[in-house]
């Protein structure tokens, strides 16, 4: 057991063996009611969750873990005789391990197993209502965070997953062996449809594969959604003809109601768009509905994780993004913003790589430095294309490709549109930087260390790249990450 100020009393204390005692009216400790089973070994069909819990002062960590298991499955605050009408032993979630979080006093990791009967087939709404429902407001805990989850193949197979998946997406777009390039249209707000389309055309003709609506571009007074779609599709098709490449622009179909969302998606399809975009804030059921719609209409779904920080950012409370990414892969998205590690937004490089693995693996191996606590068999589920977006520029191309490989969309918004020689030049700079780094890596060069030199050499025959490197040479966002992985390679023994 870990050394910490509070000793963990992890002995079995349940009284479920004595039914009369267990079901006498009154209040029992959760660990007495059967929610603490230190000898329990999860079976292949169990879902296993790892929670980081911070019990209130004086609350026994094992009792707190048992309470989490109870409140996220069958328990209520008092004993109920109606439990005895059910096969309640199997419905109870079982906390089976508690360890102190290395280096953070007062926090504990708690492992909890859930029987497969507890969840509706193919419903993220149902899973989340249990696992992150009432339990997250439970008073005996100061804070709780769902750090990771392992879902059984039997449950995974009840989900259809990404409508397109990254392999098929590449086949449709005819783009292989390199990251895809994108940019978010800026400014976020205020452009008319006509001006907006200009930015799309310049970016795509200059060499980007995708342009993108921002998360809060829906249908405001300055630009009605239909107007945006019409101008954007003119730009997309014109750029496709100008380059001989398939191009796309994520049309954000987020709206106030499902009826609005469907109407917008239908119009995007009618105009021949290859991709639509959703904001995370529309909710799990809406996401799953749109995944069904997208499967029916051969559409790629771009997921902008707007709002995820309210769940994911605080290390002691909420849901880790690796769990969100797993659920989104099941729910059915094709693109998912997963962080840049080197850009302006939150993210420790190892932790961010963990999110990428969850999106792209066929089988995710336990990898503690990357925050992955469990093996996860994806049962051949299609893969999600991760998106790195936010505060990145051409000068970081070698770092991005070294960290994330080929299966990623690199989105340079300011890094394209803010180029001193214009949007097309910005796009050229990014595409040349991308291609020269991929080429050099394949040739066996050490891009992590030789990257700057490779870029400078390419810039000698590419003025836009030279201008980009000069403009942003000193820009980096080196803040300490608030969400690193806490683990001990070998748990200390007290």
């Amino acid at each position: 057991m870990n050394s910490s100020a509070i000793e963990i009393h992890n002995e079995a204390t349940d009284i479920t063996g004595n039914a009369k005692k267990r079901y006498t009216a009154g209040v029992l400790k959760y660990r007495q009611m059967g929610y603490w089973q230190p000898d329990y070994e999860p079976v292949a069909t169990d879902t296993v969750c790892l929670f980081r819990i911070t019990p209130q002062e004086g609350v026994d960590p094992v009792e707190a873990a048992a309470a989490v298991a109870g409140e996220s499955s069958t328990a209520t605050w008092t004993v109920v005789w109606t439990d005895r009408l059910t096969a309640c032993d199997s419905y109870r979630a079982k906390a089976f391990k508690v360890e102190a979080v290395p280096g953070i006093p007062g926090q504990y990791f708690a492992w909890v197993a859930y029987d497969i009967i507890l969840f509706e087939e193919g419903s993220i709404a149902n899973i989340t209502a249990s696992l992150i429902g009432n339990v997250f407001s439970f008073k005996p805990l100061k804070a709780a965070r769902l750090e990771d989850i392992r879902m059984p193949v039997a449950l995974i197979k009840t989900f259809k997953g990404p409508p397109t998946g990254l392999v098929v997406e590449r086949e449709r777009l005819d783009k292989f062996g390199r990251p895809l390039l994108g940019a978010t249209t800026k400014p976020k707000l205020g452009l008319s449809g006509r001006n907006y389309g200009r930015v799309i055309y310049e970016g795509l003709k200059g060499g980007l594969d995708f342009m993108k609506d921002d998360e809060n571009i829906n249908s405001q007074p300055f630009m009605h959604w239909r107007d945006r779609y019409l101008y954007v599709m003119d730009a997309v098709n014109k750029a496709s003809a100008a380059t001989g490449e398939v191009k796309g622009s994520y049309l954000n179909v987020t709206g106030a109601t499902m009826e609005d969302i469907y109407e917008r998606a239908e119009f995007a399809k009618e105009l021949g768009s290859v991709v639509i975009m959703l904001d995370l804030v529309i909710g799990w059921s809406a996401i799953q509905s749109m995944a069904n719609w997208a499967r029916k209409h051969d559409m790629i779904v771009h997921m902008h994780r707007a709002g995820h920080g309210t769940y994911t950012r605080q290390k002691n409370h909420g849901v880790s993004f690796r769990v969100m990414a797993k659920w989104l892969r099941l729910a059915g998205v094709d693109h998912l913003h997963t962080g840049t590690a080197v850009g302006k937004l939150e993210g420790d490089p190892m932790t961010v790589q963990g999110y990428y693995n969850v999106c792209r693996d066929s089988y995710t191996k336990q990898d503690l430095p990357r925050g992955l606590f469990f093996d996860q068999d994806w049962a051949d589920m299609k893969k999600v294309m991760p998106v790195a977006s936010g505060g990145i520029h051409a000068g970081q191309m070698h770092q991005l490709i070294d960290l994330f490989g080929d299966d990623v969309i690199l989105q340079f918004g300011g890094g394209t549109i803010g180029h001193p020689a214009g949007i097309q030049a910005g796009a050229v700079a990014n595409r040349v930087a991308l291609e020269c780094i991929v080429k050099a890596r394949n040739e066996g060069r050490d891009i992590k260390n030789e990257g700057p030199e490779i870029l400078q050499k390419a810039a000698q025959s590419c003025t836009p790249l030279k201008q980009a490197l000069d403009t942003w040479k000193d820009v980096s966002f080196n803040y300490t990450s608030t969400d690193t992985s806490d683990f001990a390679t070998t748990p200390s023994v007290a």
Binding site: F176, R178, G206, G207, E245, E435, S461
Partner: protein, 144 residues
């Protein structure tokens, strides 16, 4: 002459870089062979962005271990089709990939006229778009 910044069709992994030399092509082939990919050669005189099926210049070279063999096939393809588009493609047969994982153009016609955009006005403000290759009206084999 196309008006995009490269003046040419920008399909494939390396269209924004100077044309690859044979020595550079060989390094890319070696990289793919090292990963266990199978190389194949395809050619066309219809490079429309949605023309998926270029002609196969022979079968994918599944059992070939030496880049020299691919280069020999490429030389033969270039000799037969000097003004066609030719691309090298690498396939990865790993479960859950089973697709193309590298693709780049290694031969182009001297003059690339590119594509026009045909606009058909339909109901309301909607337009139907058709990307049309300027060279594709001529019969196969006499386009470039």
């Amino acid at each position: 002459m196309m008006t995009n910044p490269t003046g040419k069709i920008t399909q494939g992994q390396f269209s924004f870089l100077p044309e690859l030399t044979d020595a550079e092509i060989r390094l890319q082939i070696d990289y793919g062979l090292g990963k266990g990919y199978a190389w194949s050669i395809e050619y066309t005189d219809d490079p429309h962005p949605r023309n998926t099926y270029w002609e196969m210049f022979g079968m994918p070279m599944f059992d070939l271990q030496d880049a020299a063999g691919v280069m020999m096939e490429l030389a033969s393809c270039r000799k037969t089709f000097p003004s066609h588009y030719i691309r090298l493609m690498a396939f990865d047969s790993t479960r859950n990939v089973e697709s193309i994982v590298m693709s780049f153009i290694v031969n182009r016609p001297e003059n690339e006229p590119g594509f026009g955009l045909l606009r058909q006005e339909v109901g309301g403000r909607s337009i139907r778009y058709t990307v049309h290759g300027y060279a594709s009206d001529k019969p196969e084999g006499s386009r470039y």
